[in-house]
Amino acid sequence: MRRVLPPVIVGVLALVLWELIVTLGRIAPFILPAPSAIWRELLAQRTNVWEAALASGTNALVGLVAGTLIAILAALAVSRSKILGEVSVPFAAVINALPIIALAPILNNMFESTSSVPRRLVTAIVVFFPVFLNLLRGLREVNPVHQELMHTYAAGGWTFARKVRLPGALPHLFTGLRQASSLAVIAAVVAEYFGGLQDGLGARITSAAAFTAYPRAWAFVAGACLLGLTFYLVTLLLERLAMPWRQSLIS
């Protein structure tokens, strides 16, 4: 309760302040709508928000899972080979520096306009890097005592990876996943700004803004925010389930 209460109070106060500034300051809704107006739109549009969030959520989830799986396999392969490691990290850093969202229009043109693949592809690429780089760091940081022990047990490379490297790198993997989970939602939503199939939150936000229905646009933004939060919290939950030994440390 003590951990939950302070941020809730701050959040409520911020909303009240926002409402007061907008109504007392007579700020035009196209600059900033009042939270009460956004809330009314959110209620009125709840089926639309829900359906769009479902579409974007599916895209984000598919991209997240695919990107993560590929990143895990790539990190495992790279951690096993010195040459691959030396080549791949600068390479990954360069690609990571590219604004991957900018690929969305190109990808959209590569597939049919009814295809969900481009958005999922963008999401998977965005997810790949934080997971790959964090996991790779974790896989490389092996406790030297563990290394010597496994050597005395005459354990082979694959056994070593499975029993020591991978579980030891789990905290790093989840650091990457936490970043990736929020990024996945952002990528899935924003990719729609550049065309392709228009059934997600991104498309709703652009069309509402185009019709100058700003509170409605904000309602969909709030939906995107909730979706991102859901992804993040589920990742946190998975982290706790996957690493019970950390849990027991805190208690």
């Binding site: 406790n143 005592v145 010597e148 022990l149 029993k163 579980p167 019970p244 030994w245 027991s248």
Partner: protein
């Protein structure tokens, strides 16, 4: 049958480079079955290097190491020894029991057999009640006991220990020393024990091997006979005489 034979072994690190170091020179050492031998000396004398050579974690530059009448590499692959380091080195994602089970797991021992064996070993080190805990929940001394249980899990004829009690407080240390002696007596394990504590070496060992640095050599081997390895033994005149003898050997 001898547990360990080190025959004319030298170890040179970074050979042929400007930072070449002769860690060990012309080491001869043989350890009988069931014998408890301590290696003692100043830091840099190569005592840990010698232990690692016996463990086949590194290979000698010249000479041969034989463990249980086999080359050290073969002995390692057949898990002829258990090893424990100064750091417990437990796998924090495995419960205490699963940690002890690991060497058995890698040997392909069946699940039920593993569990029984691990519980037996934890009983031996007095941690049966903590089998389901994670290492992070245990104190340093308890972790070290788990590491010893793990080293003993495959019931190796030889136990290699590199300052296993070095990071522990004096009281825990003395208690674990007694436990270790009890375990070695019941299992008949031969032990090579690296330490820099004179009293620890004398209390535990049948023989204390004294080493000197640069290059690492064996300068003396002192047979220890004290009336009993317990509280009374720690106060026996023979115990103090041997401590003095080892100290003198270290000085010379």
């Amino acid at each position: 049958m001898t547990a360990v034979v080190v025959d004319n072994v030298s170890k040179i690190f970074n050979q042929g480079r400007p930072d070449e170091v002769t860690a060990l020179a012309e080491i001869d050492l043989s350890i009988q079955n069931g014998e408890f031998v301590s290696l003692i000396g100043p830091s840099g004398c190569g005592k840990s290097t010698l232990l690692r050579l016996i463990a086949d974690l590194i290979t000698p530059t010249t000479g041969t190491v034989t463990v249980a009448d086999r080359p050290a590499a073969t002995a390692r692959k057949e898990q002829e020894y258990g090893i424990a380091f100064q750091q417990a080195g437990l796998f924090e994602w495995r419960t205490v029991r699963k940690n002890v089970e690991l060497p058995l797991e890698l040997r392909g021992v069946s699940r039920s057999e593993r569990k029984a064996k691990a519980e037996e070993m934890l009983e031996l080190v007095g941690l049966a009640d903590f089998a389901g805990h994670y290492p992070g929940q245990l104190s340093g001394g308890m972790q070290q006991r788990v590491a010893i249980a793990r080293a003993l899990a495959v019931q190796p004829p030889l136990l290699l220990m590199d300052e296993p009690f070095g990071a522990l407080d004096e009281m825990t240390r003395e208690r674990l020393q007694s436990e270790l002696l009890g375990i070695c007596a019941t299992t008949g394990t031969s032990t090579v024990f690296v330490t820099h504590s004179i009293s620890e070496a004398v209390f535990l060992s049948d023989r204390v091997v004294v080493m000197s640095a640069r290059p690492g050599r064996i300068t003396a081997a002192i047979d220890i006979k004290i009336p009993s390895r317990d509280e009374a033994g720690r106060q026996a005149p023979a115990y103090f005489e041997k401590i003095t003898e080892v100290r003198k050997a270290l000085r010379s």
